[in-house]
Symmetry: C2
Subunit: 258 residues, 2 copies
DNA sequence: AGATATTTGTTCGTATGTATT
DNA sequence: TAATACATACGAACAAATATC
């Protein structure tokens, strides 16, 4: 039998992580394609050469190759378009897309509010300080726009809830502008955890005019410090804000639960 | 041919698919199954009911359903076993598995060494302090075992490299034990970023007996503080360690590059 | 130990939908 | 509008793995 290689030509895993356990063919192929993309310096928007995804290139079937491609797509590295001129393209992985991949991580071991704020208290001030004097005018405009959503007192629970989400969005908008993209990513991740937590959702629906006002106060002071290029003050303001927010959340969580 | 109804569920008319944007069938099915798992409060180890993955349940073919299952598997939410009594099971997603999903996040915007250490300097001390007086005897044993890998001076570049990786593993082992699973996860993530960075790999291969010795010194002092339940000292030791490590890495990176 | 039944994993050929030209 | 190039979906057949008898 000619046996056109079919599997016997099991590709030697190039990555060091492959030692751990026997990986399946689609995984190996996906890694191979990923390495090719990186090696050839493809950037988002570039087309992934058709040959790289050809079954015979890897000695696998279409289905297997399709699964490999699925892996890359799930990881956010590629997207595919139909039609002529269509195909598989490299795409930039967005922070929110990546965060969704982590959704499953904490389903069975959800972190507590204290857990989240323990980290936020450290990182948010750091991020705020790093932004001092570096925000563009339209960044300020976007942030002001976010603040505007909770300038007035909420009339309904839905409005209350929307305002609290807008407060969180303020932090996301800030984090998006951070020079340190890693720091920005982690901060956004923490916010998204808060947003999805059921306990928090319960708390966010409670009316609390005082909190809104002091929150607003923090944001304004923060923006002023950032605009003035005063890193130290931005740090302090954000730190106070986080400490106050944590205290409030923990207190309310206690009440909501009991 | 009976042509089993195909009236309501199966065909997915073009108008409906237009409303649902470009979401593909396997993705939709995967989400549906994921929601079912969460709604039914399934926990890791539980079997995913066979019916949920039956083609006719979703009006799709076996291939499509397999792809949906593949998505869940890639996301780490399920594993599958062959054979009688086999099937698809809910699984706890590990930190390392989740981190691999993020591999692609920073390929086009790689964070710098300074970026990573800016966060590590804050979080690693926090984590170390939280561990004070809380480590079990066999946790200590595991950590000691990791240290043993670089007790003696490396003879070859490979050995040198392996030792540096072991140093990183020490931090992973610590983070794995953190009460704050979120904090632990972020710390492990940062370490894995360091491990995969090409610049770091280059640095790690350089021989540096002094660094190894001082590093060893830090680890021992750290373990002692943790064992003594002295959170404050554990914090300080780790902070010094991080500061020193960052300074070294930045210095070497400058030289390696130039 | 070995055969078998059960369940997942892989592959092929083909059909269908969709966006570009 | 028609042609076409490409991804996506289907279903059947085959292969591999594994618990049970």
């Amino acid at each position: 039998m000619p046996e056109p290689d079919t599997g016997a030509a099991a590709p030697m895993p190039s990555r060091l992580s492959a030692i751990l356990k026997r990986r399946k063919r689609p995984d190996i192929i996906a890694d191979k394609v990923r390495d090719m993309i990186i090696a050839h310096r493809l950037v988002p928007g570039d087309r992934v050469p058709h040959e790289w995804l050809l079954p015979q290139t890897h000695g696998a079937s279409r289905g297997t190759l399709r699964e490999a491609q699925k892996i890359l797509e799930i990881q956010g590295l590629t997207t595919s378009k139909t039609g002529p001129g269509g195909g598989v393209f490299v795409s930039r992985v967005g922070a929110d897309q990546a965060i969704r991949l982590l959704d499953n991580l904490f389903v069975f071991q959800p972190p507590s509010i204290a857990d989240i704020y323990a980290i936020r208290k450290e990182l948010e001030p750091l991020m705020a300080a790093s932004l001092a004097g570096k925000l563009s005018p339209d960044a300020f405009a976007a942030l002001q726009e976010t603040i505007r959503l909770y300038e007035d007192e909420a009339k309904t629970v839905e409005e209350e809830y929307a305002q609290r989400l807008a407060e969180l969005d303020f932090h996301v908008e800030l984090a998006r502008r951070a020079d340190n993209v890693l720091l920005g990513f982690v901060c956004i991740f923490l916010v998204s955890l808060l947003r999805d937590m059921t306990t928090c959702r319960a708390i966010y629906q409670e009316a609390n005019p005082t909190l809104r006002e002091t929150g607003l106060n923090y944001q304004i002071r923060l923006l002023r410090a950032i605009k003035a290029g005063d890193a130290e003050r931005a740090f302090q303001v954000m730190r106070e804000h986080m400490t106050a927010a944590e205290a409030y959340m923990l207190e309310r969580a206690e009440i909501v639960r009991g």
